[in-house]
């Protein structure tokens, strides 16, 4: 109460932060792009053609990527810096995640264009929400403060809840949106509570200050801090679908419109993992690593095993991919668990590679789903190699990459993560992860076998491949193969993009 009176009494200015506009350019571009698109469609008379929104979105995302490049140079030249009074941090890690999110926006927008046309849905709202959500993701990835992390998470999530329910005529889409919303709100509460406890324990929500505080102070009574860590882990764990906080994922992935699923699997995962890594590894890693590592190790085991084993028992391909994404989350968690520079780089590499794999796979699913987005059963893939050999080949490459076959991005992604885990002494977990990779490989190859060797019942159908979806798939396959064959550039970037925290005032 006295504090409040003091503020009222003070007449001098509250220090207002300098805004380094260039440093937050990518985020601003995404957010303004979304708002502007909404304004344009409100102001312009008559309906704009559907492709306009997609082209707009892709241009905005591309512009954001372009804005990342000079910032990357700046960070490489003069080191990381904090901006907006320490609310955000500008380092290689956040920039790479930003670019990844933008790439996933581009891919999802391409899919969405084809999808909306086919489903006879329209409207700029899909794209607006996606851009806003991406902006939230970028906020999360660049956040240097727990409150900012939370704000980013909410911007990201609220938009995605709506997106999940956007397919008006599909009941399952509504259901997915509702489930995701209710459970998401639930998990947000956990995160918020964790943030509050952490604040109670350390006296700050600023990550740099927390890190500094923990480095200087020995906390003899760590209940608050550990409680905070645990609750935040639940909140983040929900977003990235770590077992046992995963059970929304299959339903939501299956029910959501497929391009939205692609967006969730890529952008949302990347942003949430970026925040998780920054909080746990970068902030709490140096001092409290030994406290959370056993916990995360246990969750990793569960995530890997449950994801792999439940995936093989599915017959719905979209659901299969949802479970397989849980398994992938387990692998990324392995990189987080390593809590080392190599682990950071491996996590980043995995997220980038997975963006291409997942977006491409869901692109194929979207196309095969045909009008109504309902043909996702394994039997709908029978004979695809003959009716659509190109599509079958694309899917095969993407699935093999997810399975981790050499010369594809998936192999190296898994490899780096495993290597990082082993370096940090988690050899047993790496071996277990490999076992689950073998199990889930069975599932991927089951799809391939169905496409190539199963007789279709009745006339094999030829799903139409719209140009935009084809372009997205092409980009993904090229991405997967280029990363797999010449991984040098990406792994160099990942190694340079270390996650760092910078104290305020630099």
């Amino acid at each position: 109460m006295t504090g409040f009176v003091a503020v009222l009494a003070a007449t001098e200015d509250i220090p207002t932060p300098d805004v380094d506009w260039s440093a937050i350019a990518p985020n601003l571009i995404l957010m303004l792009g979304g708002i502007l698109l909404l304004t344009v469609v409100s102001v312009v008379r008559g309906r704009l053609p559907g492709w306009f929104h997609a082209v707009w979105t892709i241009s905005v995302a591309t512009a954001a990527i372009v804005a990342v490049v000079p910032l990357w140079q700046r960070v490489q030249d003069s080191g990381p810096e904090s901006v907006l009074a320490g609310a955000l941090v500008l380092d290689g890690f956040s920039l790479v995640v930003t670019a990844t999110i933008c790439v996933s926006v581009i891919l999802a927008a391409l899919l969405l264009e084809a999808y909306l046309r086919r489903e006879r849905l329209g409207g700029p709202e899909w794209y607006v929400l996606m851009l806003l959500s991406a902006s939230g993701g970028v906020t999360m990835a660049t956040a240097n403060d727990l409150v900012v992390v939370f704000i980013g998470l909410e911007i990201l999530s609220v938009a995605v809840y709506v997106l999940a329910a956007m397919h008006r005529r599909r009941v399952s889409s509504q259901e997915a949106g509702l489930k995701y919303f209710v459970l998401g709100a639930f998990s947000s509460a956990f995160l918020l509570y964790g943030i509050a406890l952490t604040y109670g324990a350390t006296g700050s929500t600023n990550l740099s200050r927390i890190q500094a505080f923990l480095a200087d102070t020995v906390i003899t009574q760590n209940a608050l801090l550990l409680g905070g860590l645990a609750f935040m882990l639940v909140g983040f764990g929900f977003k990235v679908a770590v077992v046992p906080f995963h059970n929304w994922k299959p339903d939501v992935y299956q029910g959501s419109p497929t391009p939205v699923t692609a967006f969730m699997a890529t952008a949302v995962t990347a942003a949430a993992f970026a925040a998780l890594l920054r909080v746990y590894v970068t902030t709490f890693g140096p001092t409290y690593r030994t406290e959370w590592q056993p916990l995360v190790a246990a969750l990793t085991v569960l995530t890997l095993v449950v994801g792999a084993f439940l995936a093989i028992s599915q017959t719905n391909v979209k659901r299969m991919l949802a479970y397989s994404s849980i398994n992938h989350a387990g692998f990324v968690l392995l990189g987080v668990l390593a809590a080392s520079a190599a682990g950071d780089a491996a996590t980043l590499f995995y997220l980038v590679a997975y963006t291409f794999m997942a977006a491409g796979s869901f692109a194929v699913v979207a196309v095969v789903g045909r009008r109504g987005d309902g043909h996702h059963d394994l039997s709908d893939y029978q004979g695809l190699s003959r009716s659509r050999p190109g599509l079958a080949l694309v899917f095969t490459i993407l699935l093999l990459s997810q399975a981790g076959v050499p010369l594809t991005a998936g192999f190296l992604a898994k490899f780096y993560v495993l290597a990082a885990a082993v370096e940090s002494g988690y050899t047993w977990l790496a071996v277990l992860a490999m076992l689950t990779a073998v199990v889930s490989a069975f599932m991927y190859l089951r799809i391939v076998v169905t496409m190539y060797f199963a007789e279709p019942e009745g006339e094999p159908r030829r799903p139409r491949i719209p140009a935009a979806a084809g372009l997205a798939m092409g980009l993904c396959v090229v991405g997967v193969l280029v990363i797999g064959i010449v991984p040098g550039p990406l792994s160099d970037v990942a190694n340079d993009a270390v996650s760092q925290l910078v104290a305020v005032g630099r």
């Binding site: 409680g227 645990a230 609750f231 071996v431 490999m434 076998v449 060797f453 010449v486």
Partner: protein, 667 residues
């Protein structure tokens, strides 16, 4: 000599060309393109080989790093090719035999609706196989290893309209996955303990490995090898793999791919030298496989299945050699086996071709009259595999057995089991020759297919391949050939010259193959002199006197097998039923046992996993509900709900997380 990149690149180019333009090229141009690509690869291999021949032993290797695959960091892997004495020999016989089999397939696959696709797969296979042997590190080999596996499944299921064939492909896939797991784990273990996956560095650093690690690595690689090279207990896929077209059986499932396990262990001889008892295990598994498979071969009626079990058995000999650290013997037998087994398969293919795709030997007979070239060439193959001097099989098998005899105290036992398998080999191969080419009666004129009792393992569960009509139904239907039924008035005709030419060449090689490595004096052991510089491990053959005795005994055994078979099948002195026990026909019921386990408890546990999420997880959630019912009725509505049940799942998870945290708290 940087041109070695051309060796795998040529088949890759052929593959790409056929993918793009295969359908336009059509039949037979697509086949010729594929053949030329492999032949070109052979020419390059031969040129490099000759170049190396002129160099002193320690300089006989070429490394070409195409690009740095995994750059920088703690772990670097180059996309490098390594052509040395061992991989050079492998390249020569892979491309050489590969080219011949491609040539053969040009004729064999004529008229198939997926003609060009067949060659696409075949070229891709050769490229992968070359990558497997030429890779300078384990990851490259793994790449090839996976590649040949994939091609193998694709080719087994080539006529996939037949469900049996597709299931055979799946079976090959599953058993191989078990092996691949071994490969991955072993690679990882080696990387963790030595920090490298490069062969040269591994073999150099191997003595520094802890004994346990080396043993574990060796066992894991052996697990990989048992999958790929069809050893006990994972051999069951190979006989079913005969569902594929015959050239595939010859190239992949006899000459090249199945030997890659032997190659891998030989390549890593440095590690094997440290592996202790793992070597003994390998030798025993090898010799038992040889024996078990030879026994199964005795009672098969499908000509290709006889050869398939024979391949498993011969691979067993190679592992016997590897296990006794007799790598020269293993490679020697691998090469001669490639000659005579490819020859036998291609010969069998020629017989099948001229018999309207009938594969049941009980409907053959007296074919030497109609197919003289096939008869003579297959006869040479028969003598070679039976171990009759001076044909190539005799020399290599003798080298393997002699090496085993000298391998420690258990050596004579290994030798005895091996020689028993060799006698059985001579027996069933003679049986095959007599049933096919002799016997006086021309059975297809008298016995209708339906009247024959279903033989052997043909009738077993859905996992196995239906025997006598394997592959031909869909094939001939699609091709529009009218050789679907072998009619009584059928007159067998010799296959076209593209098919006979490879037979003749291979027959020549099967005769003179032994010259590579004659045991009479060390100067004549060309192969040993050539390869030994890249091998580790102690091994020596017995002295000359013992060698002679063993050779004479081996020859006597072979002659015995042939003679006994002659008594049974030509002179009918003994009823065949006395020899062809059902247990043999069913290959010791190993396959059925697997099918039962996989189909019974295995499937049940799989279903249990499937139900896990729905029943167990939700059940636990509900269990919490029912367990807390006594508190009050408030928690009653916890039905297997939807959102609320998920939310409770999250809550229970959080409680678990917190419970863990509480254990670490200090207040």
């Amino acid at each position: 000599m940087d041109a070695i990149w051309l060796i795998p690149a040529l088949p890759v180019a052929g593959f790409l060309l056929l993918v793009v333009a295969g359908r336009k090229l059509g039949d037979p141009a697509a086949g010729w393109v594929a053949t030329l690509a492999v032949a070109g690869s052979f020419v390059v291999s031969a040129a490099v080989f000759l170049h190396l021949l002129g160099l002193p032993a320690e300089e006989r290797n070429v490394t070409v790093t195409l690009w740095q695959w995994l750059p920088a960091g703690s772990f670097q892997v180059s996309f490098g090719l390594f052509f040395d004495q061992l991989s050079g020999v492998m390249c020569l016989f892979i491309t050489g035999i590969g080219a011949l089999i491609h040539l053969y397939a040009v004729g064999y696959m004529k008229g198939d609706p997926h003609y060009s696709r067949f060659f696409v797969y075949l070229n891709l296979f050769v490229a992968s196989m070359l990558l497997l042997v030429l890779g300078d590190n384990l990851l490259m080999t793994f790449l090839g290893w996976e590649g040949v596996g994939a091609c193998s499944y694709l080719l087994i299921s080539f006529w996939f309209t037949d469900p049996a064939n597709a299931s055979a492909g799946k079976k090959a896939f599953v058993t191989n996955r078990i092996g691949d797991l071994g490969f991955m784990l072993a690679t990882f273990l080696l990387f963790v303990s030595l920090g490298t996956v490069n062969y040269t560095e591994i073999n150099a650093a191997a003595p520094k490995l802890a004994g346990v690690t080396a043993t574990a690595v060796a066992l894991l690689f052996f697990l990989a090898a048992t999958g790929k090279s069809a050893q006990l207990p994972l051999f069951v896929w190979l006989p079913d793999a005969m569902a594929g077209p015959t050239p595939v059986s010859a190239l992949i499932h006899a000459a090249t791919m199945v030997t890659s396990g032997v190659f891998l262990l030989t390549r890593l001889s440095g590690v094997m030298a440290e592996a202790g008892w793992a070597n003994g295990l390998i030798a025993w598994v090898g010799v038992l496989t040889a024996l078990v498979a030879a026994g199964a071969g005795v009672a098969q009626n499908d000509i290709k299945k006889v050869l398939a079990y024979s391949t498993v058995s011969q691979l067993g000999f190679m592992f016997l050699a590897v296990g006794t650290q007799n790598y020269v013997g293993a490679i020697f037998h691998m090469i001669t086996h490639a000659f005579f087994k490819a020859l036998l398969f291609l010969g069998a293919g020629a017989v099948i071709y001229s018999m309207a795709h009938e594969q049941d030997m009980r409907r053959y007979g007296n074919l030497r009259k109609y197919l003289p070239v096939t008869f003579v060439t297959m006869g040479i193959g028969w003598l070679a595999i039976s171990g009759i001097p001076p044909f190539s099989g005799f020399w290599s098998k003798d080298e393997v057995l002699a090496g085993a005899f000298n391998a420690g105290p258990a050596g004579p036992v290994l030798w005895f089991l091996g020689i028993t398998a060799a006698v059985l080999t001579a027996f069933y191969m003679t049986r095959l020759m007599i049933m096919t080419f002799f016997g006086g009666a021309e059975h297809w004129r008298t016995d209708a297919a339906e009247s024959l009792p279903e033989g052997g393992a043909d009738e077993d569960a859905e996992l196995s391949v239906a025997g006598h009509d394997t592959g031909h139904g869909a094939h001939s239907d699609d091709a529009g050939h009218d050789h679907h039924h072998l009619t009584p008035d059928h007159t067998p005709r010799e296959a076209p010259v593209t098919m006979l030419l490879p037979l003749v060449v291979l027959a020549g090689l099967a005769v003179v193959g032994g010259l590579m490595n004659l045991p009479f004096s060390h100067r004549l052991e060309n192969l040993a002199i050539w390869i030994e510089p890249v091998l580790a491990g102690e091994h020596e053959l017995p002295g000359a006197a013992v060698l002679w005795v063993l050779a004479i005994l081996a020859t006597a055994g072979a002659v015995l097998g042939v003679w006994f078979s002659y008594r049974v099948y030509q002179q009918h002195k003994v009823a065949p039923e006395k020899v062809e026990k059902p247990v043999l026909a069913h290959a010791w019921y190993i396959d059925e046992t697997y099918a039962k386990v996989v189909g019974g408890p295995g499937e049940a546990s799989f279903d249990a996993v499937a139900e896990f999420d729905q029943k167990v997880v939700d059940g636990a959630v509900n269990g919490v509900g029912s367990g807390t019912r006594w508190i009050g009725r408030a928690l009653r509505p916890l039905q297997p709900g939807f959102v609320r049940s998920y939310a409770l799942g999250v809550a229970v998870g959080s409680v678990l997380v917190l419970a863990f945290v509480v254990t670490r708290m200090s207040l």
